[in-house]
Subunit: 464 residues, 2 copies
């Protein structure tokens, strides 16, 4: 928070300077109190405790992070500010701001930064930092690890976290440079990068990436969104020269195929319906939004809610996929959907040949029955969460597609939806209560459901 | 088809008389040809072959059944007629008729009768009849059996089929009597019963059951819809005096709970939003549509698309449940959704206590991992089918909620949806191509997906 604080001084935004100073002071006090409690002895964290710890981290970080927005009156209520920053830290990117460009620059920078911080997971950062505070957080990664990755990277969590962080920073610097080449200001290049690499979607323009009105910028963002939606363990392997492992990765293949097929089909529909004059423009608009939704980034370059319903339905289907496991993206994750599809295919086989032994395979690997079952369970809880969320949101009286897509854009951390919550909409239309519900849905989605839901189970609190 | 033929004479509907006569003649010829082929030797049907047989039965029965509608110009095209009768035999109850009351009565009777015939499954009838033709169809039931029933009724399929048929006829007679008490004409009482007991939803009124404008009729239909959505094996047990087994049945309990909770919550919302003046009216309208959608009957007593969005969302959620296994209802079935929910709950437990052995239980019974997996696979294929269907239907340019609910009302054999395909809408708005797609979706849904999809797999056609 020191960077936006410094920025507020540079930009001479006094209200923001005071707000950041106040927030930082409170955080320091809180930090000192925490240190007093934790310093005394190294705490061994059990798997169970890490759920509580991770959840609290997000809840508390958001509580502090929301203060500058509230204090500068960027948003009228604390609930809206909390919503905005939870949307930031969970990389959802849904905004409650009615206009963006006329806000304080340091606040917009802070807002974007929460995206970037959330992107790689503040918890992964904490894993590299916490040990210096005497907390051994070995189990944190399993609570935070995004999706079911097969090979564990290395047992040395801190080391791994640092490498991942390095890759993340590397790509971020690269994107900033590419965007600067596209004649964006440093402020714009950095905020766009925050939103891209976090698969998060906050931008400093009212009309998102469309505000830069540049095909070059669009393509740069397309490429880096695709990167942000990939499993970072693959980059780790690529660095070690194991490119073959990357190419053979089943999830990676499905991911790339989904992007190609949906983008292509979408652009053909856009051409047939004469929305765009030529293939090059159509594929740009189609690919941008397909990748934006699939990776759960939530950037936009036009208001696709005026597109043919077929194209909107294409995007809606992608609401139920999400990025790759181990990426910055949210959603159910490509690997889970692939597993479910393989399972479905096997069920047909099994019906035809009841005595045959059919195993769930993904790429070349056999997936254990237990894992398959827990993936199916995950998908069940995910859909139920979304549907119950949609039911609650429907009390707003908005259209069915608005409520449905809103619920799933929160749980999937996507950030843009259909109907009233499309690229042209914002979440100031929601009542404070619904903003709190939304914050909860975003958190539950970001922490892969079970981390949060476990806290609500009886057996969690039973044995200390 | 002889009954509507006779009716057409009684009602002096000459066009219909000729149409039925023509259709019956063709069917007799087809039947004789079939007999010539089948009589020669008893054929042993393998599980694999039964898939083809069952699917063909529906496809061919519909092909013939659609003729009277086409020949009498009740519907303008053969595709619309095929759609209508497929909707009848699959107990979907979606209609392509723009007006109903001014149609030929014998045609309306035939249309309703396809609902009733489809309801108990013409294949179950065929299981009782086919043996006399020299075909041993022991495996047919496993292809037709609706959902994963645990205890097989009795190994004597023909005997069982006759008992089930008896129960079905018994309830039908009972409903007719109750409706006659409500001062409905015999024609109306019978057609309403056709639609109710088949969980199918065709009616002889433009505004469905609402056309009778009678609270008494509504409540009679509510009770018999609930019965039609129950597992008929339970009635079988009840007859044998094993009432305790019925009450302890896990699916039955969830089914009844769903009805109570959704009806109650819905009626409270209707009261709060002042749609109806008192609780008694609100609960009638709420329960009617909750049960109509849950049992996949698809009757309506008002146009709920003008209800608060919250109530519409409640109904939309029920689109993803369906009746009980072994009922006349369609959808994913209560037992499958319950299993998925139990699985989800267990996944949380497992995360908290990684070493614990957690089994999927429903009621008191442990469900084998294999079964759980195949249920998860089924749900995956079901959702994928619906979503792909919605994508195809979205080429119609109708709203997202129209296309989504249309796809799932076909696959779930529900028959009414939201948006343009609500109670006030009809499917004449669909192009012929979409009507064929709809026919396919209805068939796939009715035969529980795999029966039809198996025909598209390579391994089906490999080993003769
Ligand atoms: K996002
Ligand atoms: K129906």
């Amino acid at each position: 928070m020191c960077i936006p604080f410094a920025l507020s001084i540079v930009y001479k935004e006094q209200v923001a300077t005071e707000a950041f100073l106040f927030t930082i002071s409170i955080m320091v006090v809180f930090h000192v109190i925490l240190l007093l409690f934790l310093r005394k002895e190294p705490i061994k964290i059990k798997a169970k405790d890490s759920y509580l710890f991770v959840t609290l981290t997000w809840v508390i970080a958001t509580a502090f992070g929301a203060l500058p927005l509230y204090l500068t009156k960027t948003l009228p209520t604390y609930s809206a500010s909390y919503f905005e920053i939870m949307s930031g830290f969970t990389t959802t990117g849904a905004t409650a701001l009615q206009t963006i460009e006329d806000q304080l620059k340091s606040i917009l920078f802070w807002r974007g930064m929460t995206n970037w911080l959330g992107g790689m997971g503040i918890v992964v950062l904490f894993v590299a930092i916490l040990p210096f505070m005497g907390v051994r957080g070995a189990n944190l990664v399993s609570a935070e690890s995004v999706g079911p990755t097969k090979d564990k990277l290395t047992p040395h969590i801190q080391h791994t976290a640092m490498i991942l962080w390095g890759i993340y920073v590397g790509f971020s610097v690269l994107e900033v440079l590419f965007l600067l080449l596209g004649k964006l200001s440093i402020f714009d290049a950095v905020t766009v990068t925050f939103g891209t690499m976090g698969a998060a979607g906050f931008s400093a323009k009212n009309s998102s990436i469309g505000g830069y009105n540049s095909a070059y910028v669009d393509w740069v963002v397309i490429v880096f969104m695709t990167i942000a939606g990939m499993n970072f363990a693959l980059f780790f392997k690529a660095i070690q020269g194991r490119i073959d492992k990357v190419i053979k990765d089943a999830e990676f293949r499905v991911y790339i195929s989904l992007i190609f097929v949906f983008s292509l089909v979408g652009s053909v529909s856009l051409l047939i319906n004469r929305v765009y004059p030529n293939f090059f423009t159509a594929i740009r608009y189609s690919a941008f939004h397909v990748i934006s939704v699939l990776t759960t980034t939530g950037f936009a370059i036009c208001d696709y809610t005026s597109w043919p319903v077929f194209n909107q339905m294409l995007l809606f289907l992608l609401f139920f996929v999400g990025g790759c496991a181990g990426s910055a993206g949210g959603g159910m994750k490509v690997v889970r959907i692939s597993t479910l599809m393989t399972l479905a295919k096997n069920t047909i086989k099994k019906r035809l040949h009841p005595r045959a032994v059919v195993q769930t395979r993904l790429g070349g690997d056999i997936i254990a029955q237990d894992t398959t079952l827990s993936i199916a369970g995950f998908i069940g809880v995910y859909l139920l969460t979304g549907f119950v969320g949609a039911l609650i949101i429907s009390t707003s009286g908005r259209s069915l597609e608005t409520c449905l897509s809103a619920a799933f854009l929160f749980v999937g951390n996507i950030g843009i939806g259909l109907g009233d919550v499309g690229p042209a909409g914002n979440f100031s239309i929601f009542s404070p209560i619904l903003q709190w519900v939304a914050s909860f849905l975003m958190l539950v989605g970001r922490l892969e459901l079970f981390t949060v839901y476990a806290l609500f189970s009886k057996s969690f609190w039973k044995r200390g």
